[in-house]
C-alpha cells in the first residue's frame, strides 16, 4: 500500500461512476443481447427462444437495409458538410470580439433546442401547404412542393436539419482549439509573408488536428444515433424510406412491441458503433497521440 492515499482515492473515487455506469448502461446492454434471442411481444414471461431468427429476419429486411444506408448518408454528411462548415465558421469567429461572441451564441442555439422540438419546428417549415415551401412556391407562382412526402428528397431534409442542429457544437470545439494555438506562431507566419489561406493550411489546421479528429469521432457516434428528429419530421415515411437505424428500432421494435426483434437491432447498432468508433480511434487518433 502506498502512503500517498492513492489506494483510498481508488476505492473512494472509482466505484460511484463505475457502479452507476454498469447498472444503467452495461446491464441493459447485456439484457438486450439476451432478449435478442427471443420472440417476445413485451407482455408476460420471456420463454419463446428463437436462436438467431431475429437476426435472420433483420438481415433480410429491405427497410433495415434502407435505414442502414440512410445512417451511412448521415455519417457522410456529418463529416463532409457539417465539419467543414463548422471549421470555416470557427476560423472566422475564434477571435474574442463581442460581435463574434454574439454569432457564436446564435450558431450554438440549435444545439440547445430539444430534438423533439427541432423536428416539430422543421416539419412546420417544410410543410407544403402552410410553411416556407408553400410561401416560396406561391412567390414563384409554381405548384407547391411537398418535400417531406417525396421519397427522393425527404431524407435530404433530415440531413439538412441534422447539420443545422449540430454544426454549432462542432464549431465550439474548433473555436476552443483555435484559441489555444499560440498567437506568436500565427504572427510569425504572417511576418514571413504567408497569405491568410496559407496560414490556415500550414499553421492553424495542423495545430488543431486533434480537435478535428475528436470532432469526427463525435460526428460518427452522433450520426449513428440520430433518432428524435426523424420521428416528428417524417416518422420514417414516406413508405418507410427515411428511417435511421435507431428510428427503425423504435418503430419496428418498440412501437410494434417486437421487443426481441428490437433488441436484435440494438445489438447490431451497438456493434456497428463500437466497431466504427474503435477502428477510427485506432486509425486516426492513437497514431497521432492520445484522445
Amino acid at each position: 500500500m502506498r502512503s500517498d492515499g492513492s489506494l483510498t482515492a481508488l476505492m473512494l473515487f472509482l466505484p460511484p461512476a463505475v457502479l452507476l455506469f454498469s447498472l444503467f448502461v452495461i446491464w441493459p446492454i447485456f439484457t438486450a443481447v439476451d432478449l435478442s434471442f427471443y420472440k417476445w411481444n413485451g407482455y408476460g414471461d420471456v420463454t419463446n427462444f428463437v436462436g438467431f431468427d431475429n437476426y435472420g429476419i433483420l438481415l433480410k429486411n429491405s427497410i433495415f437495409h434502407q435505414s442502414l444506408f440512410n445512417s451511412f448518408k448521415l455519417l457522410l454528411a456529418s463529416i463532409f458538410l457539417q465539419i467543414p462548415l463548422a471549421l470555416v465558421l470557427a476560423l472566422l469567429l475564434y477571435r474574442k470580439t463581442s460581435a463574434n461572441t454574439a454569432f457564436r451564441l446564435i450558431f450554438f442555439a440549435p444545439y440547445i433546442l430539444a430534438e423533439i422540438a427541432t423536428g416539430l419546428i422543421w416539419s412546420f417549415i417544410f410543410d407544403g401547404d402552410y410553411g416556407v415551401s408553400a410561401m416560396v412556391a406561391d412567390k414563384l407562382g409554381s405548384e407547391p412542393f411537398y418535400i417531406l412526402a417525396d421519397k427522393q428528397w425527404a431524407f435530404w431534409t433530415i440531413i439538412t436539419v441534422v447539420v443545422w442542429k449540430y454544426f454549432g457544437y462542432h464549431m465550439m470545439i474548433f473555436i476552443a482549439a483555435l484559441q489555444a494555438v499560440p498567437t506568436d506562431l500565427i504572427e510569425a507566419a504572417e511576418i514571413d509573408g504567408a497569405s491568410p489561406l496559407k496560414t490556415i493550411w500550414y499553421v492553424k489546421l495542423p495545430m488543431i488536428l486533434h480537435a478535428i479528429k475528436l470532432s469526427v469521432l463525435f460526428a460518427i457516434t452522433g450520426a449513428l444515433q440520430v433518432f428524435d428528429i426523424i420521428i416528428p419530421l417524417t416518422n420514417g415515411g414516406p413508405s418507410n424510406s427515411t428511417h435511421s437505424i435507431v428510428s427503425f428500432l423504435y418503430t419496428f421494435g418498440l412501437a410494434r412491441m417486437n421487443v426481441g426483434f428490437g433488441a436484435a437491432v440494438g445489438v447490431v447498432l451497438f456493434i456497428l458503433c463500437v466497431g466504427t468508433a474503435f477502428s477510427y480511434k485506432r486509425l486516426a487518433i492513437d497514431k497521432g497521440g492520445q484522445l
Binding site: 413485451g42 412526402a149 415515411g237 414516406p238 412501437a255
Partner: protein, 418 residues
C-alpha cells in the same frame, strides 16, 4: 436486493408526497384534446368522489403515441394504473393473454351490464371473461363538402357502389377539384379504405376467419381483391398533393378549408374539421354531408355493416373493486348522456344518444344502431404488429409502391411472424 430496497426507501422519502388516507384508483387516459372531454371526466370524477368519500380518483392523461409506446412495460411494473384506456381488439387480447388484466365479471351486476349495447360488452370480453367496460364507438363514413360536389356536378347521395364512387371521383377531378383529402402520414386513414373494402368484400366473418389463418389468412383472395379495388382508386390520383406529408389532423383542417371534396373518417371529423381549419369554423353543419361507405357488388359483407372503433376502459390485475365501481359510475346514463352531448363520441349506453345534439352525429349513430355487424378498425383488430403492417401496406398501395398481391403478402408475413 437489500441495497436496492434502501435506495428505494431513500428515494421515496425524498420525493413522494404525503401518505393518502383514502384508497386511490389510478386511471390513465389518452388526451381527449378537446376541453369538453377533460371537463366531462373532471365532473364525473367529482360526482363519484362526492358519493364515495373513501375513494380518490387520480386521472392522468397521455398523448396517443406516448400512451401506446409505454403501456406494455407500464402494465408489468409496480406503477401500473388500475384503469386504462383501450381501443379494444388485438392489443387488448394480447394484454389479457399476458395476464395483466383483471376479470371483473363478478363485480359488475347484470342490471348494469344490460344498460350497454351488447356489441360493446362483447368488445371488452375475451375468452368469456369481462375485463372492462366500453364507453363509446366511432363509425367511419364518407364525408363530403356539399358546395364542392355541387360545383363538380356530383350528387353523392346517389353513390351506392364502389364503382359509382370511382366515377364520381373522376368527375370531380376533371372539374379541377381535389376529390379526396387524406392524412397519409398517419397511415391509418389510408387503412380505412383498405379495411372498409375488405369488410365489404370478405365480410366480418371472412375477416375473423382470415385472422384465424383460414383461406390463406390475410393474403387470401378477398384481401387481394380489396387491394385491387383500392388501387383502382389510387390510380385515379384522387388525393390532395403531398398527402403523404399530411397527418390526420392537418387533413381534417384541409377538408375544413374546402381543399377537397371527400374525406373518409370517423364521426369525430365533424368537429375536428372545424377545430383544425384555418378559420376555426370549417364547413358548417348544413354544408357538410355524408354517405355510408359504398358497397362492392358481389361482396360477402352486409351492405349495412359499419367499420370503426369501440373504445373503453380496461381494469388491470390487482386493482381493487373500487376500480370497477368507478367505471360503472362513469358509464351511468347521466354521465353518458352528457358525454353524448359533446358530439364527439357515439355512446354505447342505451338511451344516452338522447344527448346527441348534432344532426349528422345523430344520423351516424342511427347507422351504427341499424348495423348487423360493426367491424373494428383493422389495425386495432389485428394487434400492434400486424396492425402496423396493415397500415404500412395501405400507405404503400396508395403511393403505388407495391402491388395488391405484395400488400396482402406483407400483412400476412407479419401475421405469421406473430
Amino acid at each position: 436486493m437489500k441495497r436496492y430496497a434502501v435506495l428505494a426507501v431513500l428515494a421515496v422519502g425524498m420525493f413522494a408526497s404525503a401518505p393518502v388516507l383514502a384508497e386511490t384508483v389510478k386511471v390513465l387516459s389518452i388526451e381527449p384534446n378537446v376541453k369538453e372531454g377533460r371537463d366531462f371526466y373532471a365532473s364525473a370524477i367529482e360526482k363519484f368522489e362526492k358519493a364515495n368519500p373513501d375513494i380518490k380518483i387520480q386521472f392522468d392523461y397521455l398523448d396517443d403515441t406516448s400512451f401506446k409506446s409505454k403501456l406494455p412495460t407500464l402494465l408489468q411494473s409496480s406503477a401500473r394504473p388500475d384503469i386504462f384506456y383501450t381501443w379494444t381488439g388485438g392489443v387488448f387480447h394480447e394484454q389479457a393473454d399476458a395476464g395483466v388484466l383483471k376479470d371483473i365479471s363478478g363485480e359488475v351486476d347484470k342490471k348494469t351490464l344490460d344498460t350497454f349495447a351488447p356489441g360493446g360488452i362483447k368488445a371488452l370480453t375475451y375468452n368469456d371473461k369481462l375485463y372492462g367496460l366500453p364507453m363509446y364507438a366511432g363509425v367511419v363514413v364518407l364525408f363530403y363538402n356539399k358546395e364542392l360536389t355541387q360545383k363538380a356536378g356530383v350528387d353523392p347521395t346517389t353513390i351506392k357502389t364502389w364503382d359509382d364512387f370511382l366515377a364520381a371521383v373522376k368527375t370531380i377531378k376533371d372539374a379541377g377539384i381535389t376529390p379526396i383529402v387524406v392524412g397519409g402520414k398517419s397511415k391509418w386513414p389510408l387503412q380505412h379504405y383498405y379495411g372498409y373494402l375488405a369488410t365489404r368484400i370478405a365480410g366480418v366473418d371472412g375477416i375473423a376467419a382470415a385472422k384465424a389463418g383460414e383461406n390463406d389468412g390475410l393474403a387470401g383472395p378477398d384481401f387481394v381483391k380489396a387491394g385491387e379495388e383500392f388501387k383502382k382508386l389510387a390510380d385515379l390520383q384522387p388525393f390532395q398533393p403531398g398527402f403523404m406529408d399530411t397527418d390526420n389532423s392537418k387533413a381534417g383542417g384541409l377538408f375544413g378549408d374546402g381543399r377537397g371534396a371527400f374525406i373518409l373518417a370517423g364521426n369525430y371529423m365533424i368537429g375536428a374539421q372545424k377545430r383544425n381549419s384555418t378559420s376555426g369554423q370549417g364547413i358548417s353543419d348544413d354544408k357538410l354531408g355524408f354517405i355510408p361507405f359504398p358497397v362492392i357488388t358481389g361482396g360477402k359483407g352486409d351492405p349495412a355493416d359499419t367499420f370503426g372503433g369501440i373504445n373503453g376502459w380496461l381494469v388491470s390485475k390487482n386493482a381493487t373493486p373500487a376500480a370497477s365501481k368507478f367505471l360503472a359510475s362513469l358509464m351511468n346514463l347521466d354521465n353518458q348522456t352528457v358525454s353524448a352531448g359533446m358530439d364527439l363520441w357515439l355512446p354505447i349506453v342505451k338511451g344516452a344518444d338522447a344527448g346527441i345534439r348534432n344532426a349528422n352525429v345523430k344520423a351516424i349513430a342511427n347507422l351504427l344502431a341499424a348495423a348487423p355487424h360493426h367491424q373494428l378498425y383493422l389495425d386495432q383488430e389485428l394487434g400492434a404488429n400486424v396492425g402496423a403492417a396493415m397500415n404500412d401496406a395501405s400507405a404503400e398501395l396508395a403511393t403505388g409502391d407495391i402491388s395488391p398481391d405484395e400488400a396482402a403478402q406483407m400483412v400476412e408475413e407479419a401475421h405469421q411472424m406473430h
